[in-house]
């Protein structure tokens, strides 16, 4: 045939699904938008500024880094896969709207340059860049990061601690707010992206529908954290407030489920999110602080162990109960022999 030159070779399979990394990451950005929008509605133009500064610095850092690697602008544009935009958005979302302009900027630069690019870019980082960005800001600008402005429905602005820190400090669920207010985020102090649980939930449902995340991942994390809190305080009344306050929803839906820094198979995943929930509740009780980001950071570092210990066995392997039975049989037969 005359036009055989156009034919290419490839290894099997020759057909591929339409999903690409870029495509998935764009879905995550879309899922984050409702929460960002609600942040802007609750906290005004200040929130928008924080988001803009954070995103721009995150993307700029990546571009500058790649320019230093002597990549052409065209390659950089082709390679752009929205991951830095997600990091920028997430950093902004876990900051109070009142922070100075340089806080989101420095955090985003640190997150992208040190945590992501230094390790080799997308897919190579060992911890979630956004988490480290938040912790960096929290460590460096502690006071700024722990005062929150709340615009009450009557228009007055109140500065103060979050609902969660009050609860943790006083060990009581007594609050001026109803649960539905916490859910919607009205009159609730907090970081600009984490107050409206409804918006985060909508984003999460979008991710589940688009098959980006498994619904069991955030569910296990949130439920285990709530139950553990209730257990630690010995009162089931703590279940709802402890999951509806603080950054648990944001962390569970968007940060802990980051592909790169979570286990790669289902058994390890379930164990991972369960441990994450228990650790978060435990640390909250121990430190009286919001520790979702620290819990995720610690667990990120333990991911290789989860992958190594819990992994699926090939199709057709002996059933697990048989493996256990054989193990005990051997154990006992050895003991018997020794006794003899």
């Amino acid at each position: 045939m005359e036009n055989i030159e156009t034919v290419v070779m490839s290894d099997t399979p020759h057909i591929r699904s339409y999903r690409t990394t870029k495509n998935i990451m764009l879905d995550v950005v879309i899922a984050l938008l409702p929460a960002c929008l609600m942040g802007c509605i609750f906290f005004g133009w200040k929130a928008l500024m924080v988001i803009a500064i954070s995103c721009v610095s995150a993307i700029a850092t990546e571009v500058v880094w790649k320019l230093c690697e002597k990549k052409s602008i065209i390659t950089i544009c082709k390679e752009f896969d929205f991951t830095s935009l997600i990091t920028g958005l997430l950093i902004a979302m876990c900051m109070p709207s009142t922070v100075a302009w340089y806080v989101p900027m420095l955090s985003a630069i640190f997150a992208i340059a040190v945590v992501k690019m230094l390790f080799g870019g997308t897919g190579k980082n060992i911890v979630n860049p956004a988490i480290v960005g938040r912790i960096f800001a929290f460590m460096s600008f502690t006071t700024m990061m722990s005062t929150f402005d709340t615009t009450l429905t009557n228009g007055t602005i109140v500065s103060g601690a979050t609902e969660l820190s009050t609860m943790l400090a006083t060990s009581s669920t007594a609050s001026d707010l109803e649960l539905w207010q916490m859910f919607i985020g009205i009159n609730l102090a907090g970081c600009l992206g984490e107050t409206c649980k409804l918006a985060l939930l909508i984003g999460g449902i979008y991710l589940v529908v688009r098959k980006v995340i498994d619904i069991r991942w955030p569910l296990i994390y949130i439920v285990s954290c709530g139950l553990m809190s209730a257990l630690l305080y010995g009162d089931i009344a703590f279940f709802m407030p402890s999951i509806l306050t603080g950054g648990l929803f944001l962390g569970a839906i968007f940060m802990a489920t980051d592909y790169v820094t979570s286990p790669n198979n289902k058994y390890a995943s379930y164990a991972y999110y369960l441990c994450l929930g228990l650790l978060t509740a435990g640390l909250r009780k121990a430190t009286h602080m919001e520790v979702v980001s620290f819990a995720i950071l610690i667990m990120n570092l333990l991911v290789p162990i989860f992958n190594k210990v819990l992994h699926p066995r090939p199709f057709g392997s002996e059933p697990l109960y048989k493996v256990c039975a054989n193990f005990f049989k051997k154990l006992f037969s050895k003991k018997n022999k020794e006794e003899k």
Partner: protein, 443 residues
């Protein structure tokens, strides 16, 4: 009888594109003037040529003699003159011996001796004599599969046809159901089992309904998923048994045979016709006329392409077999074999030629892997050259190379390539260790 299938949760859901050729009746393609019949169409030793250059051969005459237990006879598919025995590339690019025959268009035919009885051993001998091999793609001599070392109680007929695009098995089921049924019963007799299960995917509802009417055959309606037609998964879905790791289907008490193989058995036993032609699907969005063809073995792909009126300008890839497991062809100067089940011309829209990016550890490959392996780990270790870890962590030797992992990979990584590399390296290492052990034993 109709039975429910066992649940199969893994595997990928791939648009099957069977509508391109599903409703086109089978057509016999006239033999081209020159054919080249490969002597290595099966797994195992290549056949030994028993004709010389210049000899006149008849259609259905033995030209390649089976050269061992795992080998198969080769028959001439036309009458004519042998004009050469030379090395030519096969589909995967390796050069193997081909017998080249010039067609005299007379189609003078010889058949095998009619069988005296239908005893299991007679049928088995005939299957071996007619050169029948597994026609699904592997090309394993059928008679070896029919003589298992362990006790078997079930014959499973693979009517899943899970590869996208391919429809030739469906057409055979639709157009020659009675012949097919006879072939299936002969196979069951040869193995000595009374239980026959036919696994058919739910995208062929008319066939499920038709075969469920037969009283001696149990039809299992399989979920439409790839790779449903893989032996191990077919056995699991049809009987609930699992083939133990590293064992053969016979260890689960099952023998699996393909639709085309069953039909070839019928033709060999009842019509005394050796295997020299087969059904084949020619499809793909880039092909002007998708077709289901009856093709003489040894036909050049170029002639098939001309018969289907050629391909469109936007052709990106030519594939022999299905798009998931069939190799891509760089030239059409290649000849069909007993295992060529399809010929696809895929357009730029259908194939993916994107460059791989970093693995983002999404775990989608592990989610779909029908063998419950960890392809991303295998890829990671194979790229790093650590093949021992690829085996111990990823379990690479259990891979059936179905390609589900690479299909779903959002980073478009060449996972199957890494797996093939790791498998090859591990096999080479094992062979070397074995050779060293044997040498040590001699000393």
């Amino acid at each position: 009888m109709l039975e429910k299938a066992k649940l199969f949760l893994r595997g990928a859901h791939i648009p099957d594109k069977k509508n391109l050729s599903k409703d086109i009746p089978i057509e016999e393609m006239p033999a081209p003037p020159i054919l080249a019949i490969s002597l290595a169409q099966h797994i195992g030793k290549p056949a030994t040529p028993i004709v010389n250059v210049g000899d006149r051969v008849l259609q259905g005459q033995l030209i390649g003699q089976s050269s061992g237990f795992i080998s198969a006879n080769i028959y001439s598919s036309v009458s004519g003159t042998v004009i050469g025995i030379e090395k030519r590339p096969n589909v995967s690019g390796a050069k193997v011996d081909h017998i080249i025959i010039e067609n005299d268009n007379k189609y003078e035919n010889v058949v095998l001796e009619p069988l005296a009885d239908r005893e299991p051993q007679t049928i088995k001998n005939r299957i071996a004599e007619a050169g029948i091999v597994g026609m699904g793609g592997a090309g394993f001599p059928t008679v070896v599969k029919l003589s298992p070392q362990t006790k078997v109680d079930t014959l499973i007929i693979n009517g899943a046809e899970c590869e996208p695009y391919l429809t030739c098995d469906y057409r055979v089921m639709k157009e020659r159901p009675q012949d097919l049924l006879q072939g299936i019963r002969l196979l069951a007799k040869a193995v000595g089992v009374s239980k026959i299960i036919m696994g058919i995917e739910k995208n062929k509802p008319d066939m499920i309904e038709f075969f469920a009417k037969e009283s001696d055959i149990t039809v299992v309606a399989l979920k439409k998923a790839y790779p449903m037609g893989s032996e191990k998964h077919l056995i699991y879905c049809c009987t609930g048994r699992k083939v133990p790791v590293g064992k053969l289907p016979a260890d689960a008490g099952c023998v699996v045979q393909n639709i085309a193989t069953a039909l070839a058995t019928y033709e060999a036993v009842e019509l005394n016709k050796p295997l020299y032609e087969r059904y084949m699907t020619c499809s793909g969005e880039s092909l002007y006329q998708p077709r289901n063809l009856l093709v003489k073995i040894g036909t050049r792909y170029d002639d098939i392409l001309n018969f289907c009126k050629g391909f469109k300008k936007d052709t990106a890839m030519l594939v022999s077999g299905g798009p998931m497991m069939g190799p891509a062809m760089l030239s059409t100067d290649i000849y069909t074999t007993k295992t060529s089940s399809g010929f696809l011309a895929l357009s730029t829209k259908e194939v993916s030629v994107e460059n791989p990016t970093n693995c983002i550890n999404c775990g989608k490959c592990a989610q779909v892997c029908p063998m419950h392996l960890l392809p991303m780990q295998i890829d990671f270790y194979a790229q790093a050259g650590d093949f021992d870890s690829a085996e111990s962590v990823g379990g690479v030797m259990n891979c059936i190379s179905c390609g589900c992992c690479a299909y779903v990979c959002p980073a478009k990584r060449a996972l199957v390539q890494s797996i093939t590399l790791a498998k090859g390296q591990i096999m080479a290492k094992r062979r070397a260790a074995q050779a060293a052990q044997q040498q040590g034993g001699k000393k």
